[in-house]
């Protein structure tokens, strides 16, 4: 929902409303869903979505065996302020997923994914902080 009152905070960002809104299962690999602003990661045979606003950083690394690693770090409480830190403050009793890291067989796919996540994240964060500013 984009047209709620100014009381709506970015903490209400959700990726999907229904299971059927998720992209059809393809290969088991990290995907970026631009339309729903989500990053999907394969965990035990299921694509698990995370809204891009929960992502703090993403980075990749390659070793000498042509293995490629990608690390996604999520926002958790107690880290430097981010526009979505409201989540962390509001959910003090929760346990947070802090980080996932994957090894990939395809370095090109990984660098693509890293770029896509970074761009999407930047756009969403910019939009949300603009919205927050307008609301005050």
């Amino acid at each position: 929902g984009n047209n709620r009152t100014s009381m709506r905070s970015s903490s209400e960002l959700i990726a999907y409303k229904s299971v059927n809104d998720l992209p059809p299962p393809r290969e088991m690999m990290i995907q970026v869903d631009q339309r729903n602003e989500a990053v999907l990661v394969p965990i035990y045979g299921i694509m698990v979505p995370f809204h891009v606003s929960t992502v703090k950083t993403v980075s990749s690394q390659q070793d000498t065996n042509r293995n490629c690693y990608v690390r996604i770090i999520f926002n958790v409480p107690g880290t430097p302020f981010t526009p979505h830190d409201a989540n962390s403050v509001k959910n003090q009793a929760a346990i947070f997923l802090k980080e996932v890291s994957f090894r990939s067989k395809d370095p090109r796919h990984i660098s693509e994914v890293v770029q896509q996540i970074k761009t999407l994240r930047r756009n969403v964060v910019a939009r949300e902080s603009e919205r927050a500013e307008r609301a005050t």
């Binding site: 299971v19 045979g45 995370f50 926002n75 009793a93 929760a94 947070f96």
Partner: protein, 186 residues
């Protein structure tokens, strides 16, 4: 075994992604065979302690928990299969499958539930994901609040996924009361 149900396109999910195969339910239990041979999973009905259904994108997933703590996940059931199989399980095993929901909100905060050797991350009481602690090579406490799980690196399992999970870490704030002592630490 005329009373059985045969499904041709059922994947067994696990550490290495999912493998397609054939699943047969018969009066004695469950038999899954990997497509093209190789791995097979056989579960005697007397070993089944719990069954779950979960709606996943485009299909349904059956969870089979057995006595020794293992938890098999089979994916690829149509909506109409769910109803007929539930009836089948009730009559043959006397077990009513429980319905689980998949979290799709995209949040990274929730609860951790430990059951047998499965660690489940729940968001708003819906399941975001599940990992098997049997696949964890090492756990590490990082600082006071972070727990890191490192998974086995195994190149021989024939993982058919492009990206494989290597590490996962959870942040447990001081304000969390679920894991106060470290005896419960995953």
């Amino acid at each position: 075994m005329a009373d059985g149900h045969l499904f041709n396109n059922i994947s067994l999910g696990g550490r290495g992604g999912s493998n397609p195969g054939q699943l047969r339910f018969h009066s004695g239990g469950i038999l899954w065979k990997k497509q093209g041979g190789g791995k097979a999973v056989e579960v005697d009905k007397s070993d089944i302690v719990g069954l779950t259904w979960m709606k996943v994108p485009r299909t349904n997933q059956l969870g089979v928990r057995i006595k020794d703590g293992l938890f098999y996940k089979f994916t690829g059931f149509r909506d109409q299969d769910v109803a007929s199989l539930s009836t089948f399980f009730q009559t043959t095993c006397g077990i009513t499958p429980e319905e689980k929901q998949l979290s799709i909100s995209g949040k990274n905060w929730g609860e951790v539930d430990l059951n047998g050797n499965m660690l489940t991350f729940l968001v708003g009481s819906k399941q975001a994901f599940e990992v098997s602690l049997a696949d964890v090579a090492q756990t590490q406490l990082q600082g006071k609040n972070d727990v890191m799980l490192e998974f086995h690196v195994d190149d021989t399992t024939g993982a058919n996924e492009k990206d494989s999970l290597m590490e996962i870490s959870f942040h447990i704030p001081n304000s969390n009361t679920q894991f106060v002592g470290d005896e419960n630490r995953p």
